[in-house]
Subunit: 338 residues, 2 copies
């Protein structure tokens, strides 16, 4: 039961039922604030509903993060696996892929982990706060072009088109480009001003659990790498899929991370996109500081392993199970799961 | 296994594992739009990340709704149960209660339903769209006072206070008032302009499933009652917890709903809060039109049954399992579950 094909990592068809002990959720990291001085409004809350006045002044919670867990009846790892999404995204990234395959949430449940999927501060079920009253600036809304040509590296500059028939993509691209609209459904607005609130909430999550393995994507990487520095007694491993940032070795000492294995995983086309050309050196510098400090850190360049064509959306690409299996093998080698 | 105590409806402690066939998610109802004419911005995406220009103009998807499902290995109902939250809330309402008990998602999974929890357009994992470019107005952020004194009927007018020790609440209140901050964590911004987009997405969800039972809360009620009118061949029952609105019998003919049982469930303190005094008559009018049309409709006033003290947050109150059992019994009487 719950078999994993060792060659592809794919959960086999005809899987036995997942034995689930509990499904639930909670929020961490928020605090109450009071808004004052804003004018009254009038509204109708629902069709055929009554008109009633709205006073926007008063107390609300901000800075909270949402965490949903699925706990197994008999987990095969002592440490829950925390899945932390990237910027402008939510925990949905880890669920069903845009082309309808099981995502990494299910992969790692079937592999034997209790899995915690979070929506970080400002997005998804974490909610967000008024601006400019609480957040100092307006959010950014991801455009399809930015996602396609820059962040997710589906195609080169100028290759996005609103008409699917006229879109171009990198040769051998592993992202299911025909499902771009389904992927766009997952985009959520983001701010550029909430890193401190977000780190605080992630640290609160780590503090709530006895131990955990942190698996991050993109913007989540910097939060995960810092979370390990902030709680080296609780974080048992950090797996960073294409982190867009990392701690600065001039400011943070990696010595405390000895005994906490780190894995960095990178896809294809990185040299063809300015954002990644500019972002990667800071991450590499942190990786090298980990190595210099004697930390068990590994840098996996997937194309160098013969796994070509992966986009930035490694967990959504058509070989997402293969990438997950690379991660799972790395964890098995470190006895993080039986 | 998966035993339900028939007197309280509570899942018993020491439950056998839930036998889960699949956990996943999808979006429905969205469409692509193009934004033009907006000025460029500059941003840093992550700490230690590179500065890069942002062009907010381009394509994005709006109007999508998020749906997460948990499917059982052996469901005991032929119809999945859809849980539709109220205004200013998300699907989180149906998960763990603010005081940490299993919510209705788990209750109805253990009762034998495949359960689909959605985040409607504009909130949670459904994302939201720029205003005033797409949505014509700014959102409303729920304040603690509005929730406490008006919508959720925790206490009378003037009873909210930022200091928990100074808050007052209705005598015999069933909401776990000591956990108000945890409940506030669940609040999300809402708009007053998205009813048509939201109904479209709910109708798309109904259309994607062969059949379903729709269980709604508050603002979700009007959408559920209309969804049944829009697809009477697919909706097998509507359960509306304290709907804040309902269709207008002068505009919609309830005759098509014969054969689709309807349940309305109401808590306590309704006559003490102006919003509910003003909202309830429109719902009662629709209920009476259902009865007149020969629809199997039931109106349950919980205090009249001896179940006193329930707030508007019926699924979060300390007797939430008892209320769920009332709903489950009603479904069993109608052979909606074996």
């Amino acid at each position: 039961m719950n078999s994993i094909d060792s060659s592809t990592g794919a959960a086999s068809s005809g899987d036995a039922p997942l034995q689930v002990r509990d499904i639930g959720s909670f929020h961490v990291g928020g605090h109450m604030v009071s808004l004052t001085g804003m004018p009254l409004r009038q509204r109708v809350s629902t069709a055929q509903g009554a008109v009633h006045p709205i006073d926007p002044n008063g107390e609300m919670v901000i800075g909270q993060m949402y965490v949903q867990y699925v706990k197994l009846a008999q987990p095969r790892s002592r440490h829950p696996l925390l899945l932390w999404h990237g910027g402008g995204m939510s925990g949905v990234n880890w669920e069903t892929t845009p082309d309808g395959r099981p995502g990494w949430q299910m992969f790692f449940l079937r592999a034997g982990f209790d899995v915690f999927v979070s929506d970080a501060v400002e997005r998804g079920r974490a909610s967000w706060a008024p601006y400019p009253e609480i957040y100092p600036e307006a959010p950014y809304f991801r455009t399809a072009r930015e996602a396609w040509e820059e962040t997710f590296r589906f195609g080169p500059s100028g290759s996005w088109h609103i008409d699917p028939a006229l879109r171009r993509h990198h040769a051998a691209q592993r992202f299911p480009v025909a499902q771009m609209e389904a992927f766009m459904n997952q985009f959520v607005p983001r701010w550029g001003c909430n890193d401190a609130l977000t780190q605080h909430a992630y640290d609160a999550l780590i503090g709530r659990l006895d131990s955990s393995i942190v698996l991050t994507h993109s913007q989540g990487g910097n939060f995960g790498l810092n979370a390990a520095l902030n709680a080296p007694d609780r974080v048992k491993a950090v797996i960073a899929l294409e982190p867009s940032g990392a701690p600065d070795p001039a400011l943070r000492d990696p010595a405390a991370l000895r005994g906490i294995p780190h894995l960095f995983v990178w896809g294809d086309f990185l040299t063809q996109h300015a954002f990644w050309v500019n972002s990667l050196p800071n991450v590499r510098r942190w990786y090298e500081s980990l190595i210099a400090a004697g930390v068990d850190a590994q840098w996996i360049d997937l194309p160098a392993r013969g796994i070509a064509g992966n986009s930035h959306a490694l967990m959504a690409d058509d070989n997402s199970d293969q990438i997950a299996a690379v991660v799972l093998d790395w964890m098995r080698e470190r006895k993080l799961i039986g």
